[in-house]
């Protein structure tokens, strides 16, 4: 088995009385793609935010390549810089060109000089056919283009782990394809990906393993075939039946 990049160990997250994540544990190995599935409100997004330290866990631990990132003594900026995240609503910086969006972290966090950062960014943008749009501002791009730029921004520093948080949910169906194709390509290049998604076909095709969350607990975990096709649990069967219809 490949080394463990991300270890989620008995993570609990409460908002007041409300327990959103209830003792969730699983690992993501190097080069593996794990999809988190579940109905709205099942805790997918909260889990992603905990991994990226945008939320604090209420209990349990999260390890990134052997570092306990829930330890309050760690430098959380340094941890975040090692993880790439792509959000549902793209969240590109609206006051910066595409190129500046992509190079910001390299220049300001990793202190690369501008030429080096831009060379790397242009190479990545070229690969997705967006090099012509480098000087444009995000609002001038389609949703699919913005999301692909956001993915490039997340990949810029070769993150140990890529988090994709429902990255196609805000896109119209015609634009979903171009984004998912890009994820397939990143995966084939050996990235380690944890994604929350509603795209069942995509999860089935792209994920090595899926984690099904229900009311903050892991209901099922296994290969897409085990969980999505051959589950014996009636609730799981019902969930996937509704989605497939």
């Amino acid at each position: 088995m490949e080394q463990v990049v991300l270890k989620i160990d008995n993570v609990v997250k409460r908002f007041g009385e409300n327990t959103v994540l209830d003792h969730v544990s699983f690992d993501v190995h190097k080069h593996e793609t794990v999809a988190i599935l579940g109905a709205s409100g099942s805790g997918k997004s909260t889990l992603m935010k905990c991994v990226n330290l945008l939320e604090q866990v209420s209990d349990g631990q999260i390890w990134l390549s052997g570092t306990d990132i829930t330890d309050p003594r760690i430098d959380s900026d340094e941890i975040r810089a090692r993880i790439g995240i792509v959000f549902q609503h793209f969240n590109l910086f609206s006051h910066m060109s595409v190129l500046n969006n992509v190079t910001l972290a390299a220049r300001k966090v990793f202190k690369w000089d501008r030429d080096r950062a831009e060379a790397r960014a242009m190479e990545l943008l070229k690969r997705i056919g967006m090099d012509q749009k480098a000087k444009e501002y995000p609002d001038r791009l389609s949703g699919g283009q913005q999301q692909r730029v956001a993915i490039v921004r997340a990949l810029m520093m070769d993150p140990e782990l890529l988090l994709l948080d429902e990255i196609t949910s805000a896109l119209d169906p015609l634009l979903v394809g171009e984004v998912l194709e890009m994820v397939e390509e990143i995966k084939s290049q050996g990235a380690t990906i944890l994604m929350a998604t509603h795209e069942m076909h995509f999860a089935h095709g792209a994920a090595d393993r899926v984690v099904l969350l229900r009311n903050g607990k892991i209901a099922e975990i296994g290969t897409p075939e085990e969980v999505m096709d051959n589950s014996t649990d009636p609730e799981t069967q019902a969930f996937f039946r509704i989605l497939k219809e």
Binding site: L54, N91, F93
Partner: protein
């Protein structure tokens, strides 16, 4: 933004629509010209038939007194400009500090936060004139600093008053930037300070540029109040002339100069906001 005229073959329907729009456009221009003339004519007629108009004209719009008082008032304006520049710098620094303290969350800063809240609340409630009196006559009255030039006292008073307004505008701007932008900035590894400097402030400034510019223009005008402390600024110079001649035209001179001073900034503001709109938003029909 105007569409570029390209030579496309267009259908008769579109040709008819374009011709109609052109006719409508011409009609709008004619109507606006006509209504402008009617309004101007009405105002002119009212003034012409007003029994006291010749006296008012002589008292407020006398060419003779205009020319005579112009250089003196202009001289005074230079003081306003200096006070304005220093107040502007002071307000930018102090106002930003207040705003940053107001939005800070650190427990250490709690006393400062409470002070900043009290300051902005009180300062926005006190009339500018009272602040000028308190600073202008109160501080020298303490006898701690010897003789302080009136310009400096005026600058301090304007800065104190306007920092409170600017701080609130800035705070609203900072808080208006979507939390997702902050999350996004933090998630690529920017520190809290870098996030504020590189993402929050630039985005906030774009949103509040018109409001800031508006406060700046109001400030330009309020700088004229330092005349109450006895400084010979444009308003005071005009007042002196009025007292000597019993003609109010020097006040009009001062007003014209203040307007001329604000016009470039109004144009600059319009140009800047239009530029941002064009760059960051794709325009629509409405």
């Amino acid at each position: 933004m105007k569409e570029k005229d390209l030579d496309f073959e267009v259908s008769p329907i579109e040709q008819e629509r374009q011709a109609y729009r052109k006719r409508q456009g011409r009609r709008s221009i004619l109507i606006s010209i006509a209504s402008t003339f009617v309004l101007a004519g009405a105002i002119a007629a009212t003034l012409h038939f007003a029994p006291g108009w010749p006296r008012v004209q002589e008292t407020f719009f006398s060419a003779h007194y205009f020319a005579k008082s112009f250089p003196l008032v202009l001289d005074g304006l230079w003081l306003n400009v200096r006070v304005l520049i220093y107040s502007l710098i002071g307000t930018a620094i102090f106002g930003t500090l207040l705003a940053v303290v107001r939005i800070s969350k650190s427990p250490v800063l709690f006393p400062l936060r409470a002070l900043a809240l009290a300051y902005t609340t009180i300062m926005r409630g006190i009339p500018m004139l009272v602040v000028l009196y308190i600073v202008g006559f109160g501080i020298p009255g303490l006898g701690l600093f010897g003789r302080i030039p009136i310009e400096i006292l005026g600058t301090v008073a304007v800065t104190m008053s306007y920092s409170a307004y600017i701080a609130e505008v800035l705070r609203a701007g900072f808080q208006d930037v979507s939390p997702q932008q902050r999350a996004s900035a933090r998630s690529i590894g920017l520190s809290s300070g870098q996030t504020v400097r590189l993402v929050i402030i630039p985005q906030a400034l774009r949103k509040i540029a018109p409001a800031l510019m508006n406060d700046f223009i109001a400030m330009q005008k309020d700088v004229g109040l330092i005349s109450t402390l006895g400084a010979i600024d444009a308003v005071r110079a005009a007042q002196v002339q009025v007292a000597l001649t019993f003609n109010f035209t020097p006040y009009i001179v001062a007003s014209v100069l203040f307007i001329l001073m604000s016009v470039p900034f109004i144009i600059l503001n319009d140009w800047y906001t239009a530029k941002l709109r064009k760059r960051e938003q794709t325009g629509g029909m409405v």
